[in-house]
């Protein structure tokens, strides 16, 4: 399995703060990679740097055979990367339909794909003409994911999709991501919820203080509680 | 002594210190060094505008708010004197009363505007003050029974301040010591004292909080400073100082009208002076106001020469026409904002 995305020695500074201090990790083609870590470890900055929303001050970001560090955000997106930010970035004043129409860069939405999306997220069909601002938190998250995937993309970056969502909705989200995985989309997902991460991830990278402190198979980390505790500070009851 | 006067905020540049001393000496001895009505007018105007621009710098440079209502407060001061002197007669009592009423009005109005709109964005505040100030200017020109309308008010002052009053029998250093000289020194010393007071304000703990808010609103709030209150107080202090400048200007001119105090053109002049002189430095107000007023008076003579010399070349005579001097200052202004936001003072300090 080759790597679709590879970061090597990536540094990012925001104002006076040196957030990413040499980040190295890879996202294998077709796989589901989880980026874990405590609050403030630099996970969000990592995704934003890949998208070109922050400029890397040093290092390479190789995507699909080309170094994309330093490219503008639209250029990065046009290479086939879909992005769901932590804030979801829903256009609240636009309807669900308009949100998705805008995301379909290459023209009208493909109807087969739309029906498939509706199968994954039925709420979107129900509220098709409603301003997205009126959706619930979980429905907004589904719209954000649908928007990033309304056309086939090579890589999907998702920042904490389970944040603030009820367990039933998270379960639904797991199903949706399993379905996405079957479409041969490569996914890099930032997560704090280890259960969610464990149920989906193939490979994992763990960040702390702007560096990658562990990377490998999800199975290896899932089976080693001591390692989990050391890397993520998980107590045993958090596993429940 | 110097340290206390300047609140420990030195010019920090030999060139700047020399320039400031030259300006100070020029203004202090203006009646003797530059005798003549026109040059004394220029000197008094410089004093008034140094105070006015310094008070604006407190807002723009130190607090980071853009107000277009500064001329309104300037005008309230001037009209306070003018209306009191017209209605109540040329007595010291009416001048004091007029000044106090004007200052009270300014304080009230500035607090009101501040509380209503300072919690919102810089742009919003700028737009609101622009609307309110133009309303005020139009109001002043329409309430002609009270304010003299477009013509403004001309009035008498107490005997001591009139040009006909001779204080000394013999001229001093060849200059006749009359009421104008007394008026000039009232303007000079009051402006100087209030400038030093403003310098004290910006160097006080209060002034440091203002600068912290300007740099990072959220962080200042997080540390526990209510930024709205600090900004409102700064707005009020600036308004009071602007009104004081208006009072001095009215005393000097013995006239108050829309064109000398309230017009938007004066607001633009203040912006030019503070930015070209140097925002957030206080001394920038001294340098900016002095250069501007002198340029306003004498640059046009120079440009007339250039314009005549360029006669025959298309458009160029129009561009260096004496009336177009603001064009060049406008360009200098834009370059200042981009290239040297600390203005002339920043440039002089940077050389050291």
């Amino acid at each position: 399995m080759s790597n679709l995305l590879a970061l090597s020695g990536v540094n990012t500074r925001i104002g006076h703060y040196h957030i990413l201090q040499g980040v190295d990790f890879v996202v294998p083609q077709g796989g589901f990679t989880m980026l874990l870590g405590r609050n403030g470890a630099g996970k969000t900055t990592c995704l934003r740097t890949i998208m070109g929303l922050w400029k890397a001050s040093a290092g390479r970001i190789d995507f699909d055979g080309a170094d994309i560090a330093g490219r503008s955000t639209p250029a990065v997106a046009q290479l086939g990367i879909g992005y769901v930010p932590e804030s979801m970035g829903i256009f609240a004043g636009l309807t669900v339909r308009e949100n998705l129409t805008l995301a379909a860069r290459d023209g009208p939405i493909d109807e087969k794909r739309l029906d498939w999306m509706f199968g994954l997220f039925p709420a979107l069909k129900k509220f098709w003409h409603l301003p997205a601002g009126h959706l619930s938190g979980g429905q907004k998250q589904m719209l954000a994911i649908a928007r990033a995937m309304i056309e086939p993309r090579k890589l999907l970056l998702v920042d904490e999709p389970t944040k603030g969502l009820a367990p039933a909705i998270i379960a639904h989200m797991v199903e949706a991501f399993r379905e996405l995985k079957r479409t041969d989309t490569t996914i890099l997902l930032v997560e704090q919820n280890f259960n969610f991460a464990r149920s989906l991830g193939d490979t994992v990278a763990v960040m702390d203080s702007g560096r990658i402190v562990h990377s490998g198979n999800m199975g290896e980390l899932a089976g080693n509680e001591a390692l989990q505790y050391r890397l993520l500070g998980l107590s045993l009851d958090a596993h429940q | 002594m110097t340290r206390r006067l300047l609140s420990g905020d030195y010019p920090r540049s030999r060139m700047l210190a020399t320039l400031l001393l030259l300006i100070l000496a020029g203004l202090a001895f203006a009646p003797f060094a530059f005798p003549g009505t026109r040059s004394l007018d220029v000197a008094a105007k410089v004093c008034v505008f140094i105070l006015l621009v310094a008070s604006y710098d407190l807002l723009l440079g130190y607090t980071g708010i853009v107000s277009f209502a500064h001329t309104m407060f300037f005008g309230i001061g001037a009209y306070g004197i003018a209306i009191a002197a017209t209605r109540l007669g040329p007595t010291w009592g009416s001048l004091v009363l007029g000044s106090l009423v004007a200052l009270a009005c300014s304080a009230l109005l500035s607090l009101l505007i501040g509380m209503l709109s300072l919690r919102v964005k810089t742009i919003f505040f700028a737009m609101i003050t622009l609307a309110v100030a133009s309303f005020f200017a139009i109001l002043a020109s329409q309430l002609s029974g009270f304010t003299g309308g477009e013509d403004g008010l001309t009035y008498k002052l107490p005997q001591l301040l009139l040009p006909g009053t001779k204080l000394l029998e013999a001229p001093l250093f060849g200059v006749e010591i009359n009421g104008r000289i007394v008026s000039y020194y009232i303007v000079f010393f009051t402006a100087a004292a209030l400038f030093l007071a403003l310098l004290r304000v910006v160097n006080s703990p209060f002034g440091r909080v203002l600068q912290a808010i300007r740099e990072n609103d959220f962080r200042a709030e997080a540390i526990g400073y209510r930024s709205v209150i600090y900004r409102s107080v700064a707005n009020c202090v600036a308004a009071l100082a602007a009104s004081a400048a208006g009072i001095l200007y009215a005393l000097w001119l013995r006239y108050a009208g829309p064109d000398t105090t309230l017009s938007f053109d004066i607001m633009i002049d203040i912006l030019l002076m503070v930015v070209i002189g140097g925002m957030g430095t206080m001394y920038g107000a001294v340098v900016g106001a002095t250069l501007f007023v002198i340029a306003q008076t004498y640059l046009q003579d120079l440009m007339k020469l250039a314009s005549d010399a360029a006669a025959g070349i298309p458009l160029l005579p129009d561009l260096v026409h004496p009336d177009r001097w603001l064009l060049w200052l406008g360009i200098l202004f834009i370059l200042s904002v981009y290239r040297f936001p600390a203005g002339i003072v920043g440039k002089l300090r940077g050389r050291q």
Binding site: L53, P74, A77, Q78, P85, S87, G89, F91, A92, G93, L94, T95, R97, E98, T101, L102, A103, I109, E111, D115, K125, F127, W128, H129, L130, P131, G133 | V66, L116, V120, T122, I123, F124, A126, M127, I128, L130, A131, V132, F135, L139, Q142, L143, F264, I268, L271, L272, V275, L319, D323, R324, L326, L327, L329, G330, I331, F333, I334, V337, Y338
Partner: protein, 334 residues
């Protein structure tokens, strides 16, 4: 596509600000001595409001999209008006002809020239003056004020300091008279042009892809870029279009006043700012309602108590801000 169409409205519109327009008109009705006068004033108010809308809409849209308030916008209005004098005065043969079509053709030429000039200047202005200070509000205000100073001086250098008379074309002078009701022809034209601009903006914003991009960009330009669109290009286009609209408004306003002065832009800017604040910074719909409110208010109060006409609009602004501190239609921002 399977979902049922129009099961829900495209956007849930907040209607209470809309009601303000009839409310103001009805409040004025008993205060004004005769019904025909009221009708005349109402039409005059709507016409004035439409012209203000033409001038203000571009400015508010630019603010919504780019977070830039161009304090030099008034200079574009003035430039538009002066360009109109340069076109219309030499075309006196067309404007004095007793033919509506000749008159309108002359006006159309003036409008096109004014829009082309102000649009082009707007483009240059964005590139040279504003681009370096995106995101810095204080510098933006200062730099656009600097642009205003320079622009006003250039206007004076090119067109001279004197007021220029600009008479309306012959067939647009005078009034339509229905019984006691007198309606100036030019005001009808102003209403029609204003409606056309509003309709065009509405269609572009709601029915085209560019409009979708603009509306999304007003909310969250970073996300629009993350979807793969170069929003900067849209910014520049909107800035040029907003400046061109200022030019159009300048022509309309100049013919309405029949005089052109270098101070006219700054004069109207005060009303424009009030309108934008009332409508909610960045909202085109709010700007439309705000313009009509201000136009009506100015005409009713101008008739009843001319001295406090502008004051009444300031009062209106304060009242609306007390009701809705962000204006009638606050623009949702991240």
């Amino acid at each position: 596509m399977s979902p049922e169409k129009d099961e829900l409205p495209g956007a849930v519109l907040d209607k209470s600000p809309l009601a303000l327009i009839p409310v103001i008109a009805l409040v004025a009705l008993p205060l004004i001595p005769s019904l025909p006068t009221w009708v005349t004033l109402t039409v005059a108010g709507l016409a004035m409001g439409m012209m203000i809308f033409i001038m203000a809409s571009g400015l508010t849209l630019v603010f919504g999209l780019m977070d830039v308030m161009n304090f030099a916008h008034g200079a574009f209005i003035t430039i538009g008006a002066f360009v109109a004098t340069s076109v219309l005065l030499p075309l006196a043969g067309w404007t004095r002809a007793d033919s509506l079509w000749m008159n309108l053709a002359a006006m159309l030429l003036a409008v096109l020239a004014a829009m082309a000039v102000t649009g082009a200047i707007g483009l240059a202005f964005e590139r040279v003056i504003i681009k370096p200070v995106y995101g810095q509000h204080l510098k933006q205000i200062l730099i656009t004020m600097g642009g205003l100073i320079v622009a006003e001086q250039l206007i004076l250098a090119i067109w001279g300091p004197d007021m220029i008379a600009l008479p309306k074309p012959v067939t647009l002078r005078g009034s339509f008279i229905f019984g006691d009701i007198v309606i100036e022809k030019y005001r009808v034209l102003a209403v029609l042009v204003g409606l056309a601009v509003f309709a065009a903006m509405f269609l572009v914003l709601n029915r085209t892809r560019v409009g979708l991009l603009i509306r999304a960009g007003v909310e969250d330009s970073e996300m629009v870029e993350s979807l793969g669109y170069r929003i900067r290009r849209v910014f520049i286009g909107v800035f040029a279009a907003g400046s061109a609209l200022a030019g159009l408004g300048g022509v309309m306003w100049a013919l309405y006043q029949e005089t052109v002065t270098s101070a006219m832009g700054m004069h109207v800017m005060i009303l424009i700012f009030i309108v934008i604040i009332i409508g909610g910074l960045g909202s085109v719909g709010g700007c439309f309602i705000g313009s009509l409110l201000v136009g009506l208010m100015a005409n009713y109060v101008g008739f009843l108590a001319p001295k406090i006409a502008l004051g009444s609009n300031i009062l209106l602004m304060v009242l609306i801000l007390l009701w809705r501190p962000q204006g009638l239609y606050p623009v949702a921002k991240r």
